[in-house]
Amino acid sequence: MTSSNTPSQIVVVGNGMVGHHFVEQLHQALPSAKIIVLSGEPRLAYDRVHLSEYFSGKSAEELAMTTPELYDSWGVEHHCNAYVDNIDKAAKVVTTKSGETYSYDKLVLATGSYPFVPPIPGHDQEHCLVYRTIEDLEGIEASAKESKVGVVVGGGLLGLEAANALKEAGLETHVVEFAPQLMAVQLDEGGGRLLKNKIEDLGVKVHTSKATSEIVAGENCRFRMNFQGDDYLETDMILFSAGIRPSDQLARSFDLEIGERGGIVIDNQCKTSDPDIYAIGECALWQNRIFGLVAPGYTMARAAVSHLIGGDTEFEGADMSTKLKLLGVEVGSIGDSHAKTPGAQSYTYENQPQGIYKKIVVDEQSNTLLGAVLVGDSSEFDTLLQYSLNSIALPEFPETLILPSTEGAAPTLGADALPDSASICSCHNVTKGDIIATIDAGTTDFAGIKSCTKASTGCGGCTALLKNVVDAELEKRGVEVKKDICEHFAYSRQELFHLIKVNKIKTFDDLLAQYGKGLGCDICKPAVGSILASTWNDYILEKDHVSLQDTNDTYLGNMQKDGTYSIVPRMAGGEVKPEGLILIGEIARDYKLYTKVTGGQRIDLFGAKVNQLPEIWEKLIAGGFETGHAYAKALRTVKSCVGSTWCRYGVQDSVGAAIEVENRYKGLRAPHKMKMAVSGCTRECAEAQSKDVGIIATENGWNLYVCGNGGMKPRHADLFATDLDKETLIKYIDRFWMFYIRTADRLQRTATWMDNLEGGLDYLKDVIINDSLGIAEELEAQMQHVVDTYQCEWKTAVEDEKSRKRFRRFVNSELDDNSVVFVEERGQIRPATEAEKLSDINIIDATETSEA
């Protein structure tokens, strides 16, 4: 790279995704470059692609792609609210609205685009909004709070994303589209029709072939939209998403060449008609095309940087294939989806009952794939895209690529079939060759390859493919992809599971003797204990299993910081009788335990000493309670909301259902804890979508959600199946849990497990719903065995003299443990701090309580 003739001052107008990428790339290539960033927005660049996640709780900070501090550390000068409205090309100076001037050697226009609002009379009032910036979203949020009905004008990609946001906000949602079908750019008629059906099934009303003639005051709602003809629709708010227009005002006013229908004309180096001015991203027009996606914009940014520093990377157009999920419906579009190429032929597969539509377009000789449309199931997208991008020869019967897999179907394209030039990550322009080079240079782990190449750190759509390529390449080099659980077993948890099951191994010692070495450890022992429990469901404190358990499992309580334990009786669905509450209260009072309602809708008693546990549990069990497994990698709670029994909105008995499933799965051991919840209607008061398994009542039955969690990395659950009857619901959950238990890694909750399953959610649906592996019956039977052999461990423990012996505090003394010291706070006990223990003021005598 030569820097001798590189320009000294570069001004970048616009700090959107592409403008930021340019700054990042230029800074990396030439750290000495003097860069000035002028952002027209009140903030620096943020992730517009994931803008909608703002509605699911992502903050502006989380969406940010950079910070003032980061730019400072790069020596990049930056100004917000700096909207440029003048360019003096001769003097090479730009001026902002507020009158600030900046001179440049090279100017980069990265001004993006703005939403097009059709000039319908009445479009220009409060509650008529657009969807592009964080400020827009704040406006939508505020307007939605005062609205019951919302309309999105425009049924394209962004319009449907906006519709989802309105629906999530609880509005009755409509989409009004001028064309006869949805997503006319990407989909053919068949795909559009199916998408419409699916979206309407989700409760969004779609009106196609409708042209709005005016927006007037409404009778029942704020507005009435009158359509041509004499149709109308009433709504409280309107969101325009009728396409974008390039922000080319500067080029228009200051005499840079623009296209007939707008857009700043650029060449392959992204130069405009002025050699010192570049344009990149959505404002730029290349060979009469605007590219409304982020990946092509990034490629333009790299081409411009390359030209600035004397390199030869050029922009040569970009693939506009897209894969996304709209309102939970998978949609994919590749290349020539409308079969416009002369001689093109197409194959179509439609499955109306399951709502799946797939089409491929091939050339005249059926040699290469030209395009594809996928709606309802986009699992073949990666494979098809590679066929099309790399002109890979099609199989003899191309239709096998989209037909449901049966004997003889074309296998998915292995990573080996891809040429080195195959683009793996289009966001960061990483080819298979780049990945191979990184591996050859010594990086041999997935995370390392990701951070070296940046592959899969953009939209994330390429993660599965990247993993395939990496694994295949590592395997070729003889690098073992290590999944050993610990030094004692050269097996993954899943492999241990199979060994135990297939060889009917019943104890840790047998497993260690046959397949391991050493004594085992605190990693493999509890993992094997858990597998043994979910496979054979023996009593957990059986002599052979005792030494495998973590202290929490051994003493059937969670150890607290001072060595005491907590006591959490099960309260299925959060339901509890007054007598139960009274008993818990009496026990807490008599044993001086700290009492608190947990986040899982039940009561936790803290501060019990190990020797008190059997006594306390004996009393709880006599009062009808069972263990709550708060200590175990097992089912924790099934949260419920009050449901149709009491709540005026409830459509099913959610409490009843929660109790039923909690009792069914209680005691089930798993790789990690498992949580469930049942809500009685879509208001979702039980927060079921934050659980490993969530159930939400519908008018017609139950919707099933899977793989959500709160905790360190919160994740919303995915909709898995809709309107199930109770029997099917239970069947699916049985299969889901057992499949998870069999195949997950140790301490992997359902969300990470699914993210690591090749094929993800679709694959899981295939296994659970379509029984693609033919194991459904076996999974159900195994679950039934566990259900049938359930025992309350605490009941077994207190009834058995031998296991009670384990709760003795000292083998040789009846004295109490005087190392446990409490003080009083807000009328209850808490562990004394080190300092308090030394000063012994206000110490509560913990030794006198066990007489109660």
């Binding site: 004692h488 505090r809 446990v820």
Partner: protein
């Protein structure tokens, strides 16, 4: 200096591959039995976890790291070598190790041996 031996419990009070706690002159001592042979692998160390600052060591899981026999603290899971008392993760933390032996059916802890 001569060792004074104290009977603390019977051999059948010990739990194979697990721990119990004995109280000796106000001192809490964790006793582990590793393996199934009658006198094989009995260890006695302090019950006090220097990191978690609580008397909990006897409730840890027994295992091995390389050829060392270790116990993992139940609070924060750091490992102590049962033979030397040394903490594998932070060698500056150490559990006192007590002499221990079996006489007939009795397990005995020795004091006065430093």
């Amino acid at each position: 200096m001569s060792i004074e031996w104290h009977n603390v419990c019977g051999t059948d009070d010990l739990v194979i591959n697990s721990g119990v706690c004995a109280l000796l002159n106000g001192q809490q001592i964790a006793i582990f039995k590793v393996g199934t042979a009658p006198d094989a692998g009995i260890y006695a160390v302090d019950n006090f976890d220097p990191q978690g600052k609580a008397q909990v060591i006897y409730r840890g899981i027994i295992g091995s790291i390389g050829d060392k026999t270790v116990v993992a603290s139940p609070l924060y899971k750091q490992h102590f070598d049962l033979a030397s008392g040394e903490c594998i993760e932070s060698p500056d933390q150490k559990l006192q190790v007590w002499p221990v032996r079996v006489q007939g059916n009795s397990v005995q802890i020795g004091t006065g041996a430093n």
